[in-house]
């Protein structure tokens, strides 16, 4: 089992974190850009990095070992292959370096090439391959090392949309039945569900939460953890703005300090006033500002009417974000977030006009409440 202790991903941090990676399973490390995911990968692989920490694999300390001696294989974001060697030589390279015998190498190369769909391309050079094929080659090379730990640092981010989908599923089936500990970093929460047996959330170099994807999704400990699991981010409101104050009080006392609750975009749904069930749901008035669709889903962007959120000065809402553990909302400083804007994620292709005010509801059980950080 891979265990990391007292890990400081950035030099500026004060206290490190520990984590035990699920042995033989796939752990997804989810975090925004600059969260420390690459530093973590480089630390585990033994490459030069700002991160420091103690590593042990099956109780044997890993820190002193050079990257070559560690039983760790890495697949990088930029398709990294030996440009002067053919596909066959590339896949064979870790085994040649380990001194395995020729017959074994040949059979393994054939096996891995077949598994990753490179069987016909063994004599090609990497620059003759497409992006997807190059990345498959990098994965084959990593698998050839037969390491106990396989690190994939956002391997699909430079590929086309559809290719990414296909390759993610391929990866899943490829790595399911091996007992390699796989660590997959990503910024996309969808990957967490598709690929992860276990999940590790990182932000600003800190470990936010870890656990099974569904449980982290349903019971996030902090706003930041909840925010990471929703794309786009969480919509927030103050407890004092709810019409159902009894319920609001209940949530506030249960959660402790926080003045705000959160709703995931996918838990909001549009409902007619006549069908609105005040017992089970909480409602908000949303003025539509924009629509985005990908065919099977629509993102409705809108501004929640101020009276519902209890803000007198919209800017104040932004300063309070920092109280809640939002280090960076990831937004530009072009001032597009002057008003509390929400996003609703709905299935199907919806058609609303700009400026329309609609009632949007959320089930009470889907409301998230947090205690401070």
């Amino acid at each position: 089992m891979l265990r990391i202790q007292n890990v400081l991903l950035n030099p500026g941090l004060n206290c490190g974190f520990d984590h035990d990676f699920l042995p033989g399973g796939m752990t997804v490390v989810l975090g925004r850009n600059q969260a420390g995911k690459t530093n973590l990968c480089r630390l585990i692989a033994g490459l030069s990095t700002q991160a420091v920490g103690e590593l042990s694999l099956n109780n044997a300390p890993l820190n002193k070992l050079s990257p070559q001696k560690r039983s760790v294989a890495v697949v990088f974001q930029a398709f990294v292959n030996y440009p002067n060697w053919s596909v066959q030589q590339n896949i064979a390279s870790p085994m040649v370096a380990a001194g395995k015998d020729k017959a074994y190498i040949q059979s393994r190369v054939a096996e891995l090439a077949a598994k990753l769909g490179l069987g016909e391309l063994l004599q090609r050079m990497p620059n003759e391959l497409s992006g997807g094929q190059q990345q498959r080659l990098a994965i084959a090379r990593a698998l050839a090392k037969e390491a106990q730990v396989l690190l994939l640092d956002e391997p699909l981010v430079n590929l086309d949309y559809k290719l990414r989908e296909a390759l993610a599923l391929e990866l899943r089936s490829l790595l399911d039945d091996s007992d390699t500990t796989v660590i997959y970093t990503t910024t996309d929460p969808k990957d967490a569900f598709t690929l992860g047996d276990d999940l590790l959330l990182l932000e600003g170099g800190n470990k936010l939460q870890a656990g099974a994807p569904l449980s982290v999704y349903q019971t996030p400990k902090t706003f930041a953890a909840a925010n990471l699991m929703s794309d786009p981010g969480i919509n927030t409101f103050t407890w004092s703005s709810l019409s159902d104050q009894a319920f609001a009080q209940q949530c506030q006392t249960a959660s402790g300090v926080s003045k705000r609750g959160g709703v995931r975009p996918e838990h909001l749904f549009f409902v007619a006033k006549s069908e609105f069930n005040a017992e089970e749901c909480v409602g908000f008035d949303l003025q539509v500002s924009a629509l985005e669709t990908s065919g099977d889903e629509t993102f409705v962007h809108g501004v929640v009417q101020a009276s519902n959120l209890g803000f007198s000065d919209p800017r104040l809402s932004d300063t309070r974000f920092s109280d809640l553990g939002f280090s960076d909302t990831g937004l530009s400083d072009t001032g597009l977030r002057d008003q509390p804007s929400w996003v609703v994620r709905s299935p199907g292709m919806l058609n609303f006009s700009q400026g329309q005010v609609l009632l949007v509801a959320v089930q009470k059980r889907d409301i998230l409440a947090f205690g401070g950080r």
């Binding site: 030099p11 030069s48 990095t49 700002q50 930029a78 430079n158």
Partner: protein, 306 residues
Amino acid sequence: MAINKPYNNRAWLGVLPVLLIVAFSAVIPLMTVVNYSVQDILDFNSRFYVGLDWYRETLQDPRFIEAFGRQVLFSLSVLAIEIPLGILVARGLPKSGAWTSVLLILLAVPLLIPWNVVGTIWQIYARSDIGLLGVGLNELGLAFNYTSNPTHAWLTLIAMDVWHWTSLVALLSFAGLTSVPPAYYQAAELDGASKWQVFRYVEMPRLGGVLVIAVLLRLMDSFMIYTEPFVLTGGGPGNATTFLSQYLATMAVGQFDLGPAAAFSVIYFLFILLFCWIFYNSVMTDETVEDAVENTANNNEARHHD
């Protein structure tokens, strides 16, 4: 993103051999020269400490001042020609294709010739009796003779240096120019930019870092130039082309005046350092360094998405 590599004291051992070599070949001899510069050396055994006398004498020596003036004029002239010419040549080279390698090799040839051979080539080439250039110019009606006419000697010297070293600037600029992603040229073309605007706004910013290196190298080297002018004109006619290095050599080796020669050497060294330091500081600010980093980052991105 700064990467702090793990701290390892054993790395100093790797540097030790270099340290020793540089110490023996440069530092210790330099200190010896400084030592000599404050002494009057009559022969090996009789030396007297004279303080800064030699320095004062040298700096007031009219021949030193003249040689210094000629040196500065020479360096500035060759810089003024080589840098723009080098950039022009680099822009004319095709960025890729079969001709590129051929042309690059041709450009590199003058850089590979030993310097005294360069001097000899031009010495013969410019001779008014048997040299191709000399005879040719005389045929055209110009009474060209670099051995008797100081202006002609100067022009020949400058032409020789330009021929010798422009390739360096061209090659460095070429490397800088090839780092421009094609999208920038395309964007400028769509904007309706003229050729001059493309050069000024797309290429020059990228060439900035490279040019600093080119100018520094040429400034230092041209200031120290010795072999080529010595072979070509011997410092003549008269002392029209006697530059600092030659004057120093005459003093030290010819007259064996070690004390003044040592002082001269130190002054020479300090001047070169001074000019380079002034140039470097006025051109390189923190911004320029960040620029160079940013450009490389952008290049990597750009290549990624091609």
